[in-house]
Symmetry: D2
Subunit: 349 residues, 4 copies
């Protein structure tokens, strides 16, 4: 059994980690921390967990965490980087669901997160945890930076077209993305209140969003063409009145070489062996409820003009976009079957 | 023109008052106060008001408010009672949308609201503003306590049966009430967050709710039988994942005398001249959307056993349950046509 | 492995059965029928099942169904009773999710469902599948009538008080029930359309609902006091703008004997060994999301007057209220561990 | 008083027309037709209209309609063109809310709507009713084709940039559009059912949507550069789990000439005198609720790169996107003040 600690269990990614890990056949969650709720059983906060666990929040105790095989940080940005070195030194693997280990460029990180990185060397050794695309490095990683939710959809949506040079025009990629409200976290903020969000739709972060630089850096790593620049891709997120679910509509300019390819076949082949990636049949498009509560990511490919492709990608932002992919990474790091504990079918309706 | 001041314009009842009053043909809103937003145009907070008003929040200035003909308090409980005497002395009429002037029994008020009443004499002279049932007193009132949202549905739902003695068993009245989330106000609280309320339903205040004593006192006033006691009526509210709307299901035990009556005819006659009360035809029941955004209250009467009656009452909690009825009261107090500015049709769908 | 057939897989209970059974360790679904979709893969209808099953709808073939160990009917009322005898004769167990085997009184059944029962003898031998309350009979049953969703909440909510005579006043039970829209099924009806139900709340079936006679009959069976009559209990359902979830608020008049008891302790003891029933701690009430997607049913007990008790019960109408309890019954009938395949944790948020 | 007839009053645009016209000071609705509901009071279908009108559905009687000053067609595509000539001959003005008079190119119309146009000459004389952009022609029109909802947002969002040549790259316009579910109409279709749409988000019509050719033709008329081609603009609509509201995110490539302009000032000036168009201040973006139930259309302009502009446009799809603009056109055609009956403030929250 793998012993697991969770730092910061009061947010939505925390409770989602528990929903998955409490049913994972090879895992025991031994420690659960919270600054604000120490001493309280987690089931008091989340009645869905009543009867499922006796876990009680404790203060963060680094010595206790060192006893764990794996520690997940479901905390605000900046917490994991304070504790990661001590844990790694104790041979404890670290998976951060915040942004501390997502971006290698320190200036970019500081600019967008307003934080000075406290362990840049460990950051360099850490692995960006897009499971399907960095599986080999994740296997040997001590620290994994779990990807942002939007960047997960974009990378998996574009990878087949980027792993050959010259198929698309990189600087013309445009991503119009939409997310359910749970992506904003569990916080007492006026902007998150029910009556402000229900029966309403809006764009946000139009002038700039933290996931833009993460996408730019990550696509650069994926791209076979090492000279390609993604700095000018466009990314505009929107907020949908639903709890869970994320859909990215990705618009791509194909080169003539790309236009000549059978894109559908390219994607189907690329993802043929992936349990969690589903390329929908031509003519269909995925909806977010088809993945609600599951770790699946589905996508469709529609050529609307000879050189124009629309890729629609959906996932559950809290599962494949956060806690699910984190557990998928844990499975890879621990040498387990990659889908262990993650085979639940989406809740529909 | 009637000059109006609004104290506390940052909540949902505040913006709803403005939505109505800015289109009221005989009103000018001259003053709008907020402790936290002074200096800011209200349209910055509520983009629905862009282009509709130049009003800017100011600090509460009692001298300025005294210039108004009518002042509405759309504030937390306990604010209106601090300023009402000064305003009344200056001949300014006061309409409080909070609870300061709803309950005559001071002990009950203190127990449920945790506040010592600061102007008990003025409270005694004030009128409880259930427009249809206290019209004559409201006409001559200086201070009106606008009813709570739930109590409005209950009083109008029961009045025809209470204004004759001996038709029902008072102590057996049972009210199972349901409200949209906007009733909880515009506050940065975790319990109000979208992802905590969407696709969810719950009871609250089961062990006791502030509107219970208000209902008990008000029904006592309505009842023809002055010996009737309503202390043991049951009232349990629930929270519905919708923004606006309130539905009360009221269960009544009819006496044999009551059972012998044509209840449908009784209600239709009782409300025949009321613009804002709609008795639905036998066999139908109202839904909340039929009154969304309007000042209408609709009800249906279904006898399910010879001595058992189910009354279903709906209203928009922010209109007839709050701001709309407040304006209706203003119209009565100022000698205007009662439905002036309040004839908008419900938004359906 | 148990081989399972599902008749009528195009509705919400059908797809929910599959969500559960495709992950059940001891089950293989071998047959899936639909009159209208024969020949189509089920994953075409429900993209959530893509990659999870190769099952294709077929026409109902009784010979094929006879090969199954268990057949579920997720069909309209009246279908299961046509085929049950043939299946039972072939030693195939039958679980009907419709009403064919819920009500023993044939006149009552005909009155409320407009159908003449075609196998009254088999009906007599069939068992009403409220798992927790009829476990021993279910073990030996050939045919189980899976309970209605509302009746499940009511029976489990009242059983501890009924299994001793004289604790409550039976004829004064009042149930104000609320359900998500999926309870109405997957049908192309105007009344079910999104824009007719979203941001809306209403009562329905006020003058009478099919689940009333089912509740009356079932409570009569549970009650220790065999002279108790439940004919006059009140049951009024409402429709909540959410997909899944059901909450029943049950109002009970305690006798003096009942009022003297520690009700909380009574319930906790009664359900101490039940995996799927959770008695919430005093002072709390359950919300529907705490059981979303799970087979749990949670309840709370609040004494609001010395002789008045409010019981709040929640479940997911499609799981414990339908497909989940059906699988629970299958587990019991087949001698499996009762919670096999049913331990998934609720999806929150 | 203007006498108005409405053909097809059972859909959402029909009831929305009535919500507006029953409060219009210069209008009397005299006739209301429906094939399926003839003889029934409209208030039976739409309880929001109870007490507001005695109107009863009648069969379509062309002689009766000829008595009207204005007839609105709130019917499926293909109905208005059958009756328009007779009405025009009788001096009755026609406003069609369907597509019969939106597209001048007959081949395009037939291809997308599957209908042969029955009065191509009248079509040529008809005016496309984008009120703000074709006001002068509308004044003198006998027949107005009310624009599609999406095209309204796109044209008003782009007009200021198109009325000078050379500011943008026409063929690179990309519109990612999102609509509430009411846009699909009031129909008994499975795809519109609550449980299929709530808590869900999807793209639709990715491979092609009827509003694309309408947008292409209409932008061609607006554009100062008569050689500009809009054939290759991209338009992808999405469905949002909300009743009302539409948001279009429009991505534009600015030329160097366009990039050198103060776009914000350009738009503010262009719309300075428009009552129903609101250019939001720089740095803000509009949300759909800010226009819920009102005839306002709001937009924001965000330059995200020197040559890249993001225009976000919102409207209520049933008001400015349908019934509201239709009444606005009626006001123009009848020489009334353009905002008469249309000054209601949005319902927020």
């Amino acid at each position: 059994m793998i012993s697991v600690g969770i730092v910061g269990g009061t947010g939505y990614t925390g409770v989602e980690l528990l929903r998955i890990l409490l049913r994972h056949p090879d895992v025991t969650v031994t420690t659960l921390t919270s600054r604000t709720e120490a001493g309280k059983p987690i089931a008091n906060l989340f009645p869905s967990l009543r009867g499922q666990t006796e876990l009680t929040f404790s203060d963060l105790d680094i010595e206790e965490l060192k006893q764990c095989d794996v520690v997940f940080f479901a905390t605000p940005h900046g917490v994991a980087m304070k504790h990661a070195e001590a844990l790694v030194a104790a041979n404890t693997k670290v998976i951060d669901l915040a942004a501390d280990f997502r971006i290698q460029n320190l200036d970019v990180f500081e600019k967008w997160y307003g934080l000075k990185h406290t362990c840049p060397e460990l950051l360099q050794q850490s692995v960006y945890g897009l499971s399907e695309l960095r599986r080999e490095q994740i296997k040997h990683a001590s620290v994994v930076g779990n990807p942002g939710c939007y960047p997960t959809t974009v990378q998996l949506g574009l990878a087949p077209l980027l792993q050959q040079a010259g198929l698309i025009v990189p600087e013309r990629i445009l991503i119009d993305a939409k997310s359910g409200v749970s992506g904003a976290g569990r916080k007492a903020e006026l902007s998150l209140v029910y009556s402000e969000n229900a029966d309403n739709f809006k764009a946000y972060g139009v002038a700039g969003h933290r996931h833009h630089p993460e996408i730019v850096e990550a696509l650069g790593v994926i791209a076979a063409d090492t000279t390609a620049s993604f700095d000018n891709i466009i990314f505009v997120p929107h907020l949908v009145p639903m709890i869970r679910g994320m859909l990215s509509t990705i618009y791509v300019d194909l080169t003539d070489k790309g236009a000549a390819l059978d894109i559908q076949a390219l994607y189907e082949m690329f993802y043929a062996d992936e349990y969690f990636v589903d390329v929908m049949p031509q003519g269909s498009v995925p909806d977010t409820r088809s993945v609600r509560g599951s770790n699946m990511l589905r996508m469709s490919l529609t050529k609307i003009q000879p050189n124009k492709l629309v890729i629609v990608v959906v996932q559950d932002n809290l599962v494949k976009g956060a806690a699910g992919q984190a557990v998928q990474n844990m499975n890879i790091m621990c040498g387990l079957s990659e889908n262990l504990g993650l085979t639940g079918i989406a809740l529909l309706p």
